[in-house]
Assembly symmetry: C3
Homo-oligomer: 269 residues x 3
């Protein structure tokens, strides 16, 4: 068993034991599903976005999730306020730059959040992540147009440039802190037919960050766990409705040892 | 069969017959689930929060549900406007002070709503309810830190002080109008792994208030009904995803007589 | 096989092949479900409502869905801005005037959107649609009080008056472009017990509009498809929770040929 497989099991066990509070400022589409996913895996979600509350709320949290999926300027302001407080408290922050690259507002907002807070992990598809560097990258809505392979070396450089860990998800996920590169190949094709699976990958990383201070291992093990839940859901569901319900079930039922045995994490690939 | 068991069956039958419109100003996380729960049990939900609409909408409603789960100041203003109109019309109002005690904004907002409207029932966990009295109560996010037992006598006093009925939910629910105390022990442990089950208990009370003018019996019978739905869901589901779907199914399928026979309501315990 | 049955199959096949991006500015209650429905049927949903983003986002879209279910003035302003851009680009727009007729804000907002943009299809229940003409129509919350039959001739006239296609849904759906009248009788009674099935009918039409330039055939074939999905869901589910999940599954699994064979579209009835 590899070190990261062991770590995956330990993180999952710690999550279920500690039930960390995860503070989410996220989009309207996925709020219900990501809250349910966090509860199912063993964390304790709270959603709060009021500018005059976010600092108080994040003070209780084990991690802060920022997701710009249905952003407006006032929500971004609240994200930055919460993010600054979290940065001061050394509470890990994960950013999901949904649709960055697709519109100027999204790209600019993601960059603003990155500039003004201390982000532990950014989770997105290749286009979104690449848009954080290259002003000329174009994405089509929230869909990816770049392959994970194209993105690998660029990602490593970009992680260094942004001084964070990047988790680029796709058929194979790539995680890099600018030094190590880890690939995770757990997952299931039906995940692409359920809204917010990317956002749910993000909150899973958020939950793992609350129990693992190493951002790279937190992100990689979280993605393996979430991907394995997809694989297990795919064993009993053949269409997206049933699949999304079985996925929540799997987040609840997967035992740490099962995760250790089935996670497909390739270190320094 | 006790009087309240009989009342439970009557309330459920009346709800399915009258299909009262329930106006909700609630949080983003649970809106979809609570709307589906209201439909499944036989009510007719509407969500409307625009400050220049809430008075018109609440005029049609059989009950008003106010829930501060993802509050901002403008939503609270709309809640108060709707609440004042409902108060003038003698339309019952139920308040869910989600996270009261956790942040100053939530505690202050809940108190403001209570001060400026005529609330029939407040439904929350023990910490939330106690925070409405004791400025020094501390809650951890939206989770409870006080037991129902601790809260019983305090609750009775607080119900008198606030001149309302309190429904404090937990492993055993406690309902008091400041005079009578009723305990409800229906429920299932998986309810704690689905987001918004507390909020759904609240809307169920809202629906029962629309057909039962006695706030204490409306709240107690609604909680028994919702808890029984949980028990039935728990018979066919072993994990939270499936459980939340079976819970909606149970709200639809439970017959009034089945409720009368299976509700666990202890009067003046 | 009728021409419209053939068209239904072709539209569904084209949808799955082209995966058009559907831009939604819609209500908080249904966002998750309609996004999942769009993904399941083969489209690519995006939700974006920021006034400083909607023009950029709609430029990528194959259709724009406007839904006033939880409207506020600023959301309506964003809808109009997006709608004007879509009109200029000749991108089809579908409007769901949720609750029009129930409150002055909703009726006025729906009319304002119709006046200021070029709407291809308006989908609503009979009350909502009729409220767009008759200031004195009264609806009760978001529920219908008029029958489809009452509405038929009025609808044809109103479609001409508004220069659009109307899709009036109920036990039997009526679609008219002011010239032809088509009735669709696919559907299942449990659809009335799931929140947002009307809104999901709307996004289905939106998706079909992205691949079919004839608004009447797009609307009629989309409603047949969505109704058939309900029928299939009703074969395996007897209560609303399970039903809504099976409905998503059916949107994914129905093959074009199965749709052609089972769609109940009556032309010029």
């Amino acid at each position: 068993m590899t070190e990261l497989a062991r770590k995956a099991a330990d993180n999952l066990a710690a999550l279920r034991k500690n039930k960390p509070l995860i503070h989410n400022i996220t989009n309207f589409v996925v709020m219900n599903y990501t809250a349910n996913a966090l509860l199912a895996m063993g964390a304790s979600p709270v959603m709060a976005h009021a500018i005059n509350e976010v600092e108080d709320m994040v003070a209780f949290a084990g991690a802060l999730v920022l997701n710009i999926g249905t952003l407006t300027d006032d929500w971004v302001a609240a994200m930055i306020k919460a993010g600054r407080k979290a940065s001061a408290l050394e509470t890990p922050i994960i950013l999901d730059p949904v649709g960055a690259g697709a519109t100027p507002l999204r790209t600019a907002s993601a960059k603003k959040i990155i500039d003004q807070t201390r982000i532990s992990v950014i989770r997105g598809n290749a286009s979104e992540i690449l848009s954080l560097r290259d002003e000329n990258a174009k994405t089509r809505g929230v869909d990816s147009i770049h392959s994970v392979d194209e993105a690998a070396e660029t990602a490593r450089l970009l992680a260094r440039e942004l001084n964070t860990t990047l988790a680029i998800t796709g058929p194979v996920d790539l995680v890099t802190d600018g030094r190590r590169v880890v690939r995770v190949s757990n997952g299931h094709r039906l995940m692409g037919f359920v809204t917010g699976t990317g956002c749910t990958a993000t909150v899973t990383i958020g939950a793992f960050l609350a129990v693992d201070s190493d951002a790279l291992s937190a992100a990689a093990t979280a993605l393996a766990f979430f991907g394995l839940a997809g694989e297990i859901a795919g064993e009993s569901a053949a269409a997206p409705g049933s699949f999304m319900i079985h996925l929540l079930d799997a987040l609840y039922t997967i035992a740490p040892e099962k995760l250790a045995q089935n996670c497909k994490i390739q270190d320094n690939a």
